[in-house]
Amino acid sequence: MNTPIQYIDRGRTLQKTWFLGWLTLLLALSACEVEFTPKDINLDPEYVVEGYLELGEQALPAYVILTQSKPFFSTLPIDELENLFVHNAEITVSEGAQKINLTELCLNDLPPQVKQLAADRLGLNLDSLKINFCVYIDLNGILKAKEGKTYQLDIKHGGQSLHAQTTIPEYVPLDSLWWRDAPGTPVDTLLQLMTKIKDPPGTKNFYRYSCSINGSAFMTPFSSVNDDVLIDGKDFEFRLIKPNFPGEDFDQSNFGLFHTGDSVTIKWSSIDEAHFNFWNTLEFNKGNQGPFSSYTTIDSNIEGGLGIWGSYNSRIYKLKVEK
């Protein structure tokens, strides 16, 4: 997504990149990076909640991934990775009088067909799945999310209690989508994706963008969320950036541009303020290392733990990349 905040962020990131480029030039004078092992701070692990409730197309039932934090490590073997999942927790989602329990599901415990179904819904590629992935999920899809309602999340485990709440916001759609030539020197195979939204005036609106290419799992760019402080009430045109695939290197010549012939699925969501703060601080934290950075604490709405209980109000837009 390429709204003003992201440009400032991108401008700052590019400015920092430039500074770092200058530094790299100086650093190139000698090998100046030395590996070291950080000391174990020896603090207790914390609960990490990654829970989502979605309203809209292709919405998953409410689910929570419950794990623990770990001190810094150089390599974590698979069995220790699996131990990060917290089992046998009591997790409930409630709204008004309605209250449902989330059931723990571990993929390896499921019969193959069900396992495949579950993996597809969660966006996991079974071929590459090497661990016993566990989620707490509204198995029967009892909870029906409604716009404007607030949903409480309560977790009990090991004598501890965690709590959070999220509200499903009003949905603001993408007004239109179209393709445009790549900026600078046009190239036959690369195009920019442009879009327009009509931001409702007077209310605080927050947005998240992700996209899937040729049926991949949904991916997000380096900056996936935005608020409407600068565009409140405006009919705003901007560019949606193509995220890099996991492991793909940054290449300035095609960064953020879509390849002709690809099929693209855009998910455009409205989210609440706490959910926005979570992704905003997380993405800032990820991009923020080096001498000119400060440590950023990832904002969390979980009382008693880390992570997020966030709701989405989403629509899907499918297009083919062509002029």
């Binding site: 709204t3 003003p4 905040i5 992201q6 440009y7 400032i8 962020d9 401008g11 700052r12 400015q15 200058w22 530094l23 100086l26 000698s30 100046c32 990076e33 030395v34 590996e35 070291f36 950080p38 603090l43 914390e46 990490v48 794990t67 623990q68 934090s69 770990k70 001190p71 810094f72 490590f73 150089s74 390599t75 974590l76 698979i78 590459s128 445009r180 900026p183 600078g184 020197t185 920019q192 600068l230 009919d235 705003f236 045109e237 996991p246 300035q252 905003n280 601080t281 800032f284 934290n285 990820k286 001498p291 000119f292 400060s294 440590y295 950023t296 604490t297 990832i298 880390l306 997020i308």
Partner: protein, 780 residues
């Protein structure tokens, strides 16, 4: 307003009393005048005038070289002296007021490496606590990073002053923040003191005459910052003949021209410096995809002065400097431009009202601005912030009698602070965060009197009454303030009390207390200050900072061999300190004041300073122990943490050796406790990827920092009387190539689904051993 009248009334009564008291005594007469350098006419600030064999009966020249000494009628031998110059003795028969202007000759001692702690004889006897004067000639002898001699870097080699980072020009004095130092260039405050992210300061030492650092007792004459004053005076310009000097270095080159306009009545100096590394590479860059990419900085210092009469002299000085970064990638049509810099202009008028009363009126314009512009295709944006000041100052130096030296005056600054205003365009639609500048008037009146109670005991009593009015136009919570309308007022009295007791003529003890207020703030979110950092005024949202400092010092002068030793201790209490809340990200569209959290700070320490200023081997040794702590109730529930620049142990050894007539060697060695940093507390998975959790704040430290630099200066024809002379300086930074850590990087490679979880932590160091060569020349 009631208060000002009341206080002004008291002031007038005091002055009248002091005047009457003197008048009532036996007839006394005053000698006064200016003390200058005979070679180039530069005034010698702080030069001493005293009765031979009676240093207690003396005075110092003020910042403009003016002195005034009142004595009973009689015959005297008056000594005029200044370190590095030949003493001059004047025989006088004092029967009336006399005007005696003196020009001192530079002696063979001129080339010594000198840090004049309170100028020779006064170091032990004056009430100046924690004050150090640095002559520029001595700074030039120090080895420097990439050959760029730098006033601020030289200050970092003194006890009590520590640097931010590897190579940074930012500095911290006695545990106080980077914004707590009042940096003055010919009376104009400087808001951003660094080029290239702070690796080089904006001060071109060729144009600078004197640098004074006050880290302890700040006299009432100065105010507005909690921790220190760095008062930099530019040269006036050679008033006898035209001269040029300059140098060519690896990073930048400099050229200075100076000379008389009207022989010995007026002169000028013009000094410039510019980098050119990327300019030289332009032909290659122009052919690449990055055509239009460049970085350079420049500064210009200019000054003219004119003496209208015996009583009047005016000066006009200016500084113009800029860093310009432009980045251009033609392939994707992306352009980025970042120009920023300071411009200052100062006009001063010296007027001698009578032999005992010297007046200086100053008018200052000061502007700092930062811009960041970017564009790509349909999209463009511009971010800018800055500060703009207009200042008027009136200062009087009054020498009513030998026992009193009084300074009083008033000043007012009209500030305009521009926060990060964002404007942009996406296609047809424009957007802006619509921030508006904030305005304020900072004003003060002050009074101080240095009183010689006896031959051993001197006290300096002073107070500064300072005030800040936030004024409109301003809008806050649906209330609108008109232009000049008062929004909020802060004020307070700042007592400044110092005393010196002479145990014997060569040993003294000093004690001091000062209270300070600071009305403008620079809150930085990163480990080093960046040009994107924004100065904010006190306002409805931000209270002023307040500081209290107690200092105690012991001073000894061993004049044989020119040794000076001092031990100083201090305790500092700082209130209303400002930081950002923990979840702050600089890309939010909120005014930064909304992200501030407030707390307090405390600093304490001792400084040992041993200096040798005579002979072929000169230099100094400094050791400082300081702790600087912070508490914020909104950061980790008020847990005490060390400030980011907390450096418990800081050691410097600086030396200069005249090996022969042609060769001069210089060396520095620094050692400091490693900087604190916030370590990685844990990692956890979000969206199948590892994210980092940092904490507790500043609870870990980098390894200790140490480094040695060496320099050798070769002058082919030393003592040559030729018009054109030159020398070569070879220097090596970080001689034994120590990899001092600069920052830490965590590389996390993870994918929960495939079971991959790997982390690597790196310590990255910046400057390895770097040699450099500079060629310097002088033409006269």
């Amino acid at each position: 307003m009631h208060n000002i009248e009341h206080r002004s009334g008291l002031l007038i009564v005091y002055l009248l009393a002091a005047g009457i008291l003197c008048y009532g005594q036996q007839s006394t007469f005053t000698i006064s005048g200016f003390i200058k350098d005979s070679l180039n006419g530069e005034t010698l600030l702080g030069a001493n005038v005293y009765v031979l064999n009676k240093p207690g009966q003396g005075a110092s020249a003020n910042d403009f070289g003016f002195y005034s000494l009142t004595l009973p009628a009689g015959e005297y031998k008056i000594v005029y002296s200044y370190l590095g110059f030949q003493e001059h003795v004047e025989n006088i028969n004092l029967t009336s007021n006399r005007k005696i202007n003196i020009q001192l000759n530079g002696g063979v001692l001129l080339d010594e490496l000198v840090v004049e702690e309170n100028k020779s004889l006064d170091q032990v006897t004056s009430t100046n606590l924690g004050r150090i004067d640095l002559a520029t000639e001595s700074i030039k002898k120090l080895p420097a990073l990439l050959g760029e001699v730098d006033v601020l870097k030289a200050l970092q080699l003194l006890p009590g002053v520590s640097s931010a980072d590897e190579g940074g020009a930012g500095f911290y004095v006695r545990g106080g923040g980077a914004d707590q130092n009042l940096l003055l260039l010919d009376g104009a405050p400087v808001y951003n003191s660094g080029h290239l992210l702070g690796f080089f300061s904006i001060f071109n030492s060729d144009a600078i005459k004197n640098t004074t650092l006050i880290k302890g007792g700040m006299p009432a004459y100065y105010g507005g910052r909690l921790s220190s004053v760095v008062d930099i005076q530019m040269k006036e310009g050679n008033d006898k003949h035209l001269a040029a000097e300059g140098g060519i270095g690896l990073i930048a080159s400099r050229l200075t021209l100076q000379g008389p306009i009207q022989g010995e009545k007026s002169s000028f100096i013009l000094s410039g410096r510019r980098t050119y590394v990327l300019d030289l590479a332009q032909p290659f860059i122009a052919k690449s995809d990055f055509a239009g990419t460049n970085y350079y900085f420049y500064d210009i210092n200019a000054k003219i002065n004119h003496q209208f009469s015996d009583k009047d002299r005016i000066y006009l000085s200016g500084y113009f400097g800029r860093d310009i970064l432009s980045y251009n990638s033609s392939e994707r049509g992306f352009k980025l431009n970042m120009p920023y810099g300071n411009n200052t202009a100062t006009f001063r008028w010296n007027h001698i009202i009578n032999d005992k009363l010297f007046m200086n009126t100053t008018a200052v314009y000061n502007g700092y601005d930062f811009k960041l512009k970017g564009e790509q295709d349909l999209f463009s944006f511009q971010l800018n912030n800055g500060v703009r000041d207009y200042q008027l100052k009136l200062d009087l130096d009054y020498y009513p009698s030998p026992g009193h030296f009084i300074r009083f005056g008033a000043n007012a600054i009209h500030h305009r602070f521009t926060p990060n205003i964002l404007q942009g365009r996406s296609g047809e639609v424009s957007f802006t965060n619509d921030y508006k500048p904030k305005y304020g008037i900072e004003s003060a009146i002050y009074f101080q009197d240095e009183i010689k109670l006896s031959s051993r005991w001197t006290v300096n009593l002073g107070a500064r009454w300072a005030r800040f009015d936030q004024i409109g136009p301003f809008e806050f919570e649906n209330k609108s303030y008109k232009k000049w309308q008062k929004v909020k007022t802060f004020s307070g009295v700042e007592p400044r009390l110092f005393t010196t007791f002479l145990i014997n003529p060569k040993t003294s003890i000093k004690l001091g207390f000062n209270q300070n207020q600071q009305f403008i703030h620079l809150v930085t979110n990163s480990a080093s200050t960046l040009p994107t950092d924004v100065w904010v005024p006190s306002s409805l949202m931000v209270r002023p900072q307040r500081g209290y400092q107690w200092s105690l010092g012991w001073y000894k002068s061993l004049r044989e061999g020119g040794w000076n030793v001092s031990v100083e201790g201090f305790y500092k209490d700082m209130r209303n300190q400002i930081d950002y809340r923990e979840t702050y990200t600089s890309n939010q569209s909120v005014e930064i004041e909304e992200a501030f959290v407030f707390g307090k700070g405390q600093a304490y320490g001792t400084e040992l300073f041993i200096q040798k200023s005579k002979g072929n081997l000169t230099g100094w040794f400094g050791y400082t122990f300081t702790r600087s702590w912070r508490w914020f109730k909104d950061i980790e529930q008020g847990r005490r943490f060390p400030a980011s620049f907390d450096k418990p142990h800081d050691l410097e050894l600086v030396s200069n050796f005249k090996a022969s007539k042609k060769w001069e060697l210089g060396g520095t060695f620094v050692y400091g406790t490693g900087k604190p940093f916030t370590p990685l507390r844990s990692v956890y998975f979000i969206n199948q990827e590892l994210v980092t959790r940092y904490g507790p704040r500043n609870s870990a430290r980098y390894q200790d920092y140490h480094r040695m630099d060496l320099a050798a200066t070769y002058t082919a024809r030393p003592g040559s009387k030729k018009i054109f002379t030159s020398s070569w300086t070879f220097s090596v930074y970080n001689v034994y190539n120590r990899k001092n850590p600069f920052f830490i990087n965590y590389d996390l490679d993870s994918d929960l689904v495939t079971g991959k979880a790997e982390g690597t932590a790196y310590k990255v160091s910046l400057f390895p051993m770097i040699p450099s060569i500079t060629w310097n020349f002088k033409w006269k």
